[in-house]
């Protein structure tokens, strides 16, 4: 798939937006550990803002950042949300209630339990009646999101790929470790424009070496499924034509040739 990358949104531990993070990703500034700063969901009407769980706030923050930097309206674009597990806090709350003496669930918690919770709030927040989807491939969710968003972009229009993950609470955290909150948005298009940051050539391939250049970023990449995007962002920030490999399934990976424009 030949695509153009128009904008990036990024929130992770010590990574506060694409602009601020690019020098770290390029190796020109030191990586300083910090917990992920998730801003309030300014896009949402007050009622929805109150009801929205943290995963939604994270996804909306990185989505809004990418669209603001590209200077285009989200309401015109399709969106693909990729998450390795939906909203863990909400799922845990439901499971705990169902295990208790009175199995009465909160209606809001129930509708927040769907995997496409971020896609739903995103369309409400932006007024976008365009398609929004939500998918999962466990540790390979980021790569899966890239394939789906890429295929949508080839069919026409600009497509936002939003990948995000937050740690589970216990006891699920012991069964499924996710190191920290991390969200990323890539705005993809099949046509070049003045906004285009890079050309991406994406292909399926056999698994190989996924490692980030910077050791601290490699630690994040291994620790959070959505952070599997970091080799691509490093290549983009370094502004050198290079091919990186992104982790997908046990027997399948993606190569992405990044050609900065």
């Amino acid at each position: 798939m030949k695509l153009f990358l128009d904008a990036v949104g990024l929130r992770g531990p010590g990574l506060d937006g694409w602009e601020a993070s690019a020098p770290i990703l390029a190796g020109n500034a030191p990586y300083l550990p910090a917990s992920t700063a998730i801003p309030p969901a300014a896009l949402l009407p007050p009622n929805e803002r109150r009801r929205a769980p943290q995963t939604v706030k994270l996804a909306l923050a990185v989505g809004a950042e990418a669209f603001a930097s590209a200077g285009i309206a989200p309401s015109d674009c399709a969106a693909v949300f990729a998450s390795s597990g939906g909203d863990g806090e909400t799922i845990h709350g439901i499971l705990a209630t169902l295990a208790g003496p009175v199995r009465e669930l909160s209606p809001t918690r129930f509708h927040n339990s769907v995997h496409n919770v971020a896609a739903g709030y995103w369309s409400i927040a932006t007024g976008a009646k365009t398609p929004a989807t939500s998918l999962c491939a466990h540790d390979g969710s980021l790569a899966a999101g890239l394939l789906e968003a890429g295929a949508q972009a080839l069919a026409g229009g600009i497509v936002a790929m939003v990948a995000y993950d937050l740690p589970y609470p216990e006891p699920l955290a012991s069964a499924r470790h996710i190191g920290a909150a991390f969200g990323v948005t890539l705005l993809l298009s099949s046509v070049v424009s003045t906004r285009s940051l890079a050309r991406l050539e994406i292909e399926l391939c056999a698994p190989g070496d996924y490692a980030c250049v910077t050791p601290e970023l490699e630690a994040l990449r291994r620790d959070i499924p959505a952070a599997r995007v970091l080799p691509l962002l490093e290549a983009l920030a370094r502004r050198e034509e290079t091919a990186v490999m992104l982790e997908y399934l046990e027997d399948l990976a993606l190569t992405v040739r990044v050609v900065p424009l």
Partner: protein, 392 residues
């Protein structure tokens, strides 16, 4: 879109295993809904339960064992589907057959049971049962597929959207054929969740009835095998002709009463299939029998098609099978086309007088070439797709 050949299709629901069992129930007007007897989830509601899901998965796949994956396994055995996938692998190679699954519940019933014991067991298989991709992981291992794969989870429109995914993935050259489909099964999360929302019907659900009062939940699994159609497909071949997707941008769990997003998805599907509304012979409605949802869909459908196009919802037969509803829709569409049957709507006694006249309450025979299927879900997600028979 370029039409895709649907070379395999399977369904397991409370109506039985396979398209023939489904057809028999549809033509007899026989509903599978009954008061809930699922013992670990006591709830005063009618449901469409799939019987016989107590058998564990084969030993080689025991790590995947959970109700949802057992249901998916049953749908591989139905309609010779597994053999059709084997043929596709022989033709294209395992890496060139994509696998795009859909579910809303995945195997969360297993986690619910674990929470009731106070701790997750040491052998709790998160990735193989609980995780949304558990279904895709199981199917990929079970079928020996090695191509691109993910599980799409957009609530009750999950499997419907897979028709659009498959057409784009094949068009983008990421695969030559695609296995799509999925399963949704009973769990406390959905049974008590819909109860909390106050949308569970008293008695069986009655889509588009003047006295409808909510949904009945059902279980189902189904799969389809899609391939590029040849320049001249065989006469009578079943084809995917078009898909349309949209968002309501209205509310997380309540549809836009104007049906604007739903209408947008239907118009997109028609444009994608290069068909006019007059060329659609039957509409398989989402029709879950909620007050607002049925009214919004009737409005959207009637605005686009006029009052007369025959239409019905299968929810009175199977219950609302949530993420699997798209596969129920595809199976009903295939049966309507193959057997010339316009299915009725059991339990719907008196059509809401506010609705258009095209609603089919008692099944009848008619020539059917093109069918539109609708599926809508939480988050305001809408999807429509069109199946058709290649002209003889």
């Amino acid at each position: 879109m370029k039409p895709l050949l649907i070379s395999g299709l399977s369904l397991v629901s409370a109506l039985g295993d396979g398209l023939d069992a489904t057809w028999n129930a549809l033509r007899e007007g026989r509903s599978a809904l009954a008061p809930c007897e699922f013992e670990e989830l006591p709830i005063d509601a009618w449901v469409g339960e799939v019987q016989g899901l107590d058998t564990r998965l084969p030993a080689d796949f025991s790590v995947f064992d959970c109700r949802n994956n057992r249901l998916a396994e049953r749908a591989l055995a139905a309609d010779g589907f597994e053999q059709k996938v084997a043929r596709a692998i022989a033709t294209y190679g395992a890496q060139r057959v994509g696998l795009f699954t859909g579910t809303s519940t995945s195997g969360i019933l297993t986690t619910e049971r674990a929470y009731q014991t106070g701790a997750l067991p040491d052998d709790f298989a998160y990735a193989e049962t609980h995780n949304t991709y558990a279904l895709g992981r199981f199917m990929r291992a079970r079928l020996g597929l090695a191509g691109p794969s993910f599980t799409l989870s957009t609530a009750c429109a999950a499997t419907a959207k897979l028709f659009a995914v498959a057409s784009r993935m094949i068009e983008a050259g990421l695969c030559d054929a695609a296995v799509i489909g999925g399963a949704d099964s009973f769990c406390g999360t959905t049974l008590f969740g819909f109860h909390a929302l106050g949308v569970m019907a008293q008695g069986p659900c009655r889509p588009f009835d003047a006295a409808r009062n909510g949904i009945s939940i059902g279980e189902a699994a189904g799969f389809a095998l899609l391939e590029r159609a040849s320049e001249a497909p065989e006469p009578g071949a079943l084809l995917l002709l078009g898909t349309g997707e949209s968002s309501d941008a209205y509310h997380m769990s309540s549809p836009d009463p104007e049906g604007t997003g739903a209408a947008f998805a239907m118009r997109q599907a028609l444009a994608d299939a290069k068909l006019t509304p007059e060329e659609i012979d039957y509409i398989n409605l989402h029709g879950t029998a909620t007050l607002v949802g049925d009214a919004a869909e009737d409005k959207a459908v009637t605005n686009l098609f006029g009052p007369a196009t025959p239409r019905s919802s299968a929810k009175g037969f199977t219950g609302h099978t949530l993420g699997a509803a798209g596969m129920v829709g595809a199976a009903v569409a295939a049966i309507a086309i193959r057997h010339g049957l316009l299915p009725g709507s059991p339990h719907t006694e008196r059509l809401d007088p506010a609705f258009a006249s095209g609603h089919v309450l008692a099944g009848r025979h008619a020539a059917v070439r093109h069918v539109m299927c609708n599926a809508f879900g939480f988050g305001g997600v809408n999807c429509s797709f069109i199946l058709g028979r290649n002209a003889p």
